[in-house]
């Protein structure tokens, strides 16, 4: 049986991991290579790296980091942040990334999804969607935002997810802007709406505060994977205890 994936997400700025440095076990918890190796040993199913420096220098640093990580860590790596062209995608894949994630660029130039899928295969094109609930609507509805959640697009999230898949996305990384950072649980309704609308796997992101939240995203939200940052980075839960908890509640996980 296919197991549900538990994915720590590392935000990298100018070559350093931001958020979470409470790992007493690590010499340097800001070093992405060391942190990646730590999560690998703990049994994470995949790692996501997002470059938030959004500068050419930051991206060059990330290529170097991915190269170093892929020599030590033998698990799937997804890299995103500021990738705009198929040349950018190729560079990350050649460095050792298995998948790349595109967000703003996918909305601005949907052809990038198709071009990437044709050149490298759908399986490595993750379309990241940041969505926020539209207030005062009779029916629940979510709008897609770009530029790190700053810019509303007018696009309906369910519509965009379906279109992204049609264009060639092999996976959707879905973040609820409303829930992100609040540690009060994922937006379950949004997660389920997207997961039921598309035929590709959906990673739920934004809002994880405890293990029950992960369970709900997987069961009620029908997500195929859950991504979290702070609950892992600040050492609230280890990957191992997360998986043991989920296994106890009947979720198939890789232990």
């Amino acid at each position: 049986m296919l197991t549900k994936r538990i994915i720590p997400c590392l935000d990298v700025k100018d070559g350093r991991v931001v958020k979470g440095t409470s790992f007493v076990q690590l010499r340097d918890a800001g070093d992405p290579v060391e942190l990646a190796a730590y999560y690998y040993r703990q049994g994470a199913d995949e790692l996501v790296f997002l470059d938030i420096s959004a500068t050419p220098e930051g991206r060059d640093t990330l290529v170097d980091i991915v190269e170093r990580i892929s020599k030590e860590v033998f698990m799937p790596l997804t890299v995103g942040g500021g990738l705009r062209t198929t040349a950018d995608i190729r560079r990350m894949l050649n460095a050792g990334a298995d998948k790349i994630s595109i967000n703003t660029a996918a909305v601005l130039t949907p052809n990038l999804i198709t071009g990437g899928a044709e050149k490298f295969g759908s399986q490595c094109i993750v379309v990241a969607i940041d969505a926020a609930r539209v207030a005062n609507d009779s029916k629940p509805r979510w709008e897609v935002y770009t530029h790190s959640g700053q810019k509303p697009t007018g696009l309906d999230a369910v519509f965009w997810a379906k279109r992204a898949v049609k264009l060639g996305a092999g996976e959707i990384l879905l973040t609820s802007i409303d829930a992100d950072g609040h540690r009060a649980g994922y937006d379950i309704e949004l997660t389920r709406a997207i997961s039921e609308a598309v035929t590709v796997p959906v990673i739920a992101s934004g809002g994880a505060g405890n293990l029950e939240d992960l369970y709900e995203a997987l069961v009620d939200g029908k997500a195929d994977a859950v991504l979290a940052a702070s609950i892992f980075h600040y050492g609230m839960y280890s990957i191992r205890e997360t998986k043991e908890y989920l296994a106890k509640r009947g979720i198939p996980v890789r232990l």
Partner: protein, 208 residues
């Protein structure tokens, strides 16, 4: 001399670097090649793959690697096909219409059944159907990392070394003489994956 070199065939597939990194991690020397001459000179060969089978066949054809690959397999040199490197061993694939493949084994590559998320992406269990050196120190039903939308359906079921369930049970590992192939990615499957490459290299070393 060359004995520690493990030849990895490069036809432009994305994940080749990960395979090379895994081989290097085990203390062997990966040698990435894309010429007929280098393939024909190889003693131990890995054919990685990711993407679409038709593209892989087209790329191999363009590089004039089809005949050399068939030849090294016919000569029973140790060979490890990964993902598409397993699928293209069969007669053909239904991916994007019908595309002929290498035809080493009878059978076709079919789309995974509808109703489940496609691609089949993530960690899933491999049930070991036969005892084989490739499984040394790998527990039965260990999890490996998969990412694919099509699966190989061999006519000769005795080829099946490992089986995985996703809607249907399918052949996730095969073994025949000095050949092995996996639908999953050992280079992305943690310590068990590395162990399978280690086993393959040891198996190749002892192969006649």
């Amino acid at each position: 001399m060359e004995n520690r070199a493990i030849v990895i065939i490069d036809y432009g597939a994305g994940n080749l670097r990960s395979v090379a990194n895994a081989i290097a991690k085990l203390g062997y020397q990966p040698r990435v090649v894309n010429s007929p001459k280098d393939v024909l000179a190889a003693r131990t060969i890995i054919l990685p793959g990711v993407g679409a089978a038709a593209d892989t066949m087209a790329a191999l054809k363009k590089l004039k690697l089809i005949e050399p690959i068939k030849q090294v397999i016919a000569e029973n040199r140790p060979f490890f096909g990964v993902c598409l490197g397993l699928q293209i061993l069969f007669d053909g694939t239904e991916e994007g219409g019908w595309h002929e493949c290498l035809g080493i084994f009878r059978g076709r590559v079919r789309k995974l059944p509808a109703g489940l998320k496609i691609p089949h992406m993530g960690w899933n269990q491999v049930k070991q159907k036969i005892a084989h050196p490739i499984f040394k120190d790998v527990p039965d039903n260990a999890n490996f990392y998969f990412v694919h939308s099509y699966y190989a359906d061999p006519e000769d079921k005795s080829l099946v070394a490992g089986e995985t369930e996703y809607g249907i049970p399918f052949c996730s590992a095969l073994a025949h003489k000095n050949m092995v192939a996996t639908q999953f990615h050992p280079e992305k499957s943690g310590e068990h994956g590395l162990q399978m490459y280690r086993n393959f290299i040891e198996f190749a070393r002892q192969a006649k």
